[in-house]
């Protein structure tokens, strides 16, 4: 009795030894709930967004592979518009005094095999088409187009402009590619006549290609390095083709290369590797290295690899985006991206990652060595997708024909 009373009286003041302390659950503050909901919504939106991207990318890839495999309705016509029309024009009329017409050309009239041969070899010399002699500089498309594409393109060109009814099969292109191997470009109209045994009338003779003779010192600079300095070729490739973020040098104008080397040396263009490499080059060595790379006619190793929208890239390169004051790339860098020395380098066949990274560098203020800040202004108007699109498109183009580029580019007299 007593014990019970005692215990009963004390139970309010002395917790039972079995008592477990606990805390009352506080309510979760509503802002935390709001944050959780907000993050949840955000996550959902991101998932939604990504799903769209994946669908778009799949559609793009399907379209691209269809173009590759010739499954579109008229692959030759589309290829012509994308690869030929900047020079030969959409109507195949060429440009007076500069680009031979395809329409009415006796070469095209020979049929798709000669068209395919010229496409794969390219031309580097004077050629007469009807009444006019052209200073022919046509790139080799061998490294830029597949057998299927060359088959479709040569068929389209020969049928549309040469009155041919023949279709040129992919197997024939493959055989032709093997036969041509690396025999180089035609040296002009006369060379085409001689090699094919066909008569194209009075064709001008091509000039012999001037081979650059490298001094042992400069050859060492390019291929083995000097002392602590590594060789140009160790990053830019044996033939200056470039790779990923390292630019292609083959076919760039010598004046442009020299200017960039000078800019690396004096800090107008920032790149630690290049600053170190250039530090001990004399002016003469810079010029010789530049001349060597300018004279190289090397197949393209660049490919669209950034997932850019090629149609958008083509539009930017050919027509620009005037709503943002972005002129066409080709309005300054030349109608086929072959460059205009010394301020406007060739863009064709440049490594996509390099082009995109330079555009980003200009936009972000890390590269500042273009005249009038032209490239800075333009790059800032392009968003990331545009930069990838245009870089990918340019990487899909055939490499610039080298040769007389330097001589012609230097004719502009400067006071």
């Amino acid at each position: 009795m007593t014990i019970e009373n005692k215990g009963g009286a004390n139970s309010f003041h002395q917790p039972d030894e079995n008592f477990e302390p606990y805390e009352q659950h506080g309510k979760m503050p509503w802002p935390l709930i709001a944050i959780a909901i907000g993050l949840g919504l955000w996550g959902a939106a991101t998932l939604f967004d990504t799903r769209e991207d994946v669908a778009t990318a799949q559609a793009d890839r399907t379209a691209a592979s269809q173009a590759d495999t010739g499954l579109t309705t008229d692959p030759g016509s589309a290829l012509f518009a994308a690869r030929c029309s900047t020079c030969h024009q959409p109507d195949g009329m060429g440009v007076r005094g500069a680009i031979p017409p395809l329409a009415g050309s006796p070469f095209v009239a020979q049929g798709p095999e000669l068209v395919a041969t010229i496409l794969m070899r390219g031309i580097d010399g004077p050629i007469r088409v009807n009444d006019h002699i052209f200073n022919g500089h046509m790139p080799s498309f061998a490294s830029a187009l597949t057998d299927i594409e060359i088959g479709a393109l040569s068929t389209h060109v020969a049928q549309r402009f040469g009155g041919s009814s023949e279709a040129y099969p992919t197997t024939a292109v493959a055989a032709l590619r093997a036969a041509i191997s690396d025999s180089g470009s035609f040296k002009g109209g006369q060379d085409i006549s001689t090699i094919t045994g066909l008569d194209f009338g009075n064709q001008p003779a091509g000039k012999a290609q001037v081979a650059h003779s490298l001094t042992p010192e400069v050859s060492a600079l390019i291929f083995t390095g000097r002392g602590e300095q590594w060789a140009c070729a160790s990053c830019h490739g044996d033939l200056g083709q470039g790779k990923e973020n390292t630019p292609r040098l083959a076919g760039l104008s010598a004046d442009y290369i020299v200017k960039q080397l000078d800019d690396f040396a004096n800090g107008r263009r920032l790149n630690e590797s290049m600053r170190v490499v250039v530090a001990t080059l004399s002016d003469s060595e810079k010029r010789q290295v530049a001349d060597y790379y300018a004279g190289l006619r090397v197949p393209s190793t660049a490919r669209p690899e950034l997932g850019g929208d090629l149609a958008r890239g083509e539009a930017l390169a050919l027509r620009g985006d005037w709503s943002r004051n972005v002129p066409a790339c080709f309005s300054c860098h030349g109608p086929s991206g072959f460059g205009v020395s010394p301020e406007f380098p060739p863009l064709a066949a440049q490594q996509a990652a390099y082009t995109a990274s330079q555009l980003a560098a200009w936009a972000g203020g890390h590269r500042n060595n273009s005249s009038l800040d032209l490239m800075g202004r333009i790059s800032r108007q392009l968003d990331d997708a545009d930069r990838r699109a245009v870089a990918d498109y340019l990487a899909s183009l055939p490499p610039v024909p080298a040769g007389e580029a330097e001589q012609i580019a230097r004719t502009g007299v400067r006071p």
Binding site: L32, Q89, D91, M93, H132, E343, F344, P401
Partner: protein
């Protein structure tokens, strides 16, 4: 014996303590919600972006008329004529080869293939004709106007045919079809923003070729060359057009007038950086460019330069018939040995 220290009195809870933190948490929550809702709205297309605005309206954000884009050219006979006209417009020396005596194309001055506002866009020109022009003191149809372009800007006197295309030529039809198509939906009989090259206000200093030489070297030479003769690519194709000399427009062209050139330059040059030059710089560099000799005015015929100046250039801001640096301008560059573009 010391008194036991009193335990420090528990302070009453500060009711303001933590308020700031809570405020921040609230704010962060609100921002996150706003971002999430905003992102959802953007992704779902409720927020207008650049593309949707442009396709939804016939005018740009700046209030300029928006011509149709190339992929809207119809695939029929009309569309074929539009494409032919566009080909002539952008590649004039090839597609109107017989009538072009220099290295220019229509699109060298009418930028964006005739689309760019204040670059004498074709959509604005089309709805202005027929109109009276003091240049020849009569009502001009569009064909008359284009004929003038060939005569002066394209320097047809040095072409194979030696003059502009004859009246009714298909070149005029195709070019006009292209213009008509560019003006699809453009308002008529009202002022249209972006017409012509615009105007540049006169400056106190007037214009000076000497000052213009410096402007030219700093802003123009990189593209047009220090000698103003433009630059070509490896195939000999003009990438940047020549501004004076035998391959440029002749003394009868509108661009040979300093006020016209200044307006074009102010609104369009350097390419991609319109407005970079001040009004004064635009006037000066226009004066510099138009102070060099170029092909003669084809209207001179048997007349003297002074007679031609009085008849056709009186009151114009042009160096025609004036002596600059001791040289009488308007004599014209030498005639070519054979017509420009003739066969080899």
């Amino acid at each position: 014996m010391t008194e036991p220290k009193e335990a420090p009195e528990a302070k009453p809870a500060d009711i303001n303590k933590g308020l700031l933190t809570r405020w921040w948490i609230h704010a962060a929550g609100a921002v996150l919600i706003a971002v999430a809702v905003g992102a959802l709205a953007y992704e779902s297309g409720f927020v207008p972006n650049r593309e949707t605005v442009q396709s939804a309206s016939q005018t740009t954000a700046d209030g300029f008329f928006q011509p149709p884009s190339d992929d809207q050219i119809p695939n029929d006979e009309f569309g074929a004529a539009v494409r032919r006209g566009q080909a002539i417009f952008t590649n004039t020396s090839t597609n109107a080869s017989q009538y072009v005596g220099n290295g220019l194309s229509c699109s060298n001055c009418h930028l964006g293939a005739g689309r760019q506002p204040f670059s004498a866009p074709m959509w604005a020109a089309w709805v202005q004709y027929p109109k009276y022009r003091s240049k020849n003191k009569q009502i001009n149809t569009m064909e008359d106007r284009v004929k003038g372009c060939f005569s002066y800007s394209m320097n047809a006197q040095h072409s194979i045919k030696g003059g502009p295309p004859p009246a009714g030529d298909d070149i005029y039809r195709d070019l006009q079809t292209y213009m008509y198509w560019l003006a699809t939906g453009a308002p008529t009989n009202e002022a249209i923003k972006g017409v012509g090259f615009g105007k540049v206000a006169k400056t106190e200093l007037g214009y000076s070729p000497e000052r213009g030489a410096e402007v030219f070297a700093a802003n123009c030479a990189v593209c047009h060359g220090g000698d103003g003769q433009g630059q070509k690519d490896i195939n000999g194709r003009y990438v940047f057009p020549p501004l004076w000399g035998e391959n440029s427009y002749n003394w009868g062209a509108g661009m040979a007038r300093i006020d016209t050139a200044a307006a074009f330059i102010k609104h369009n040059m350097p390419l991609s950086q319109p407005g970079r030059l001040t009004d004064q710089e635009a006037w000066d560099v226009a004066a510099y460019i138009d102070s060099f000799e170029r092909p003669k005015d084809p209207r001179q015929k048997g007349k003297t330069i002074e007679e031609t100046r009085k008849q056709y250039h009186e009151g114009d801001q042009i160096y025609y018939g004036q002596t600059v640096n001791g040289v009488l301008l308007g004599v014209g560059t030498p005639d070519p040995e054979r017509p420009v573009g003739a066969g080899d």
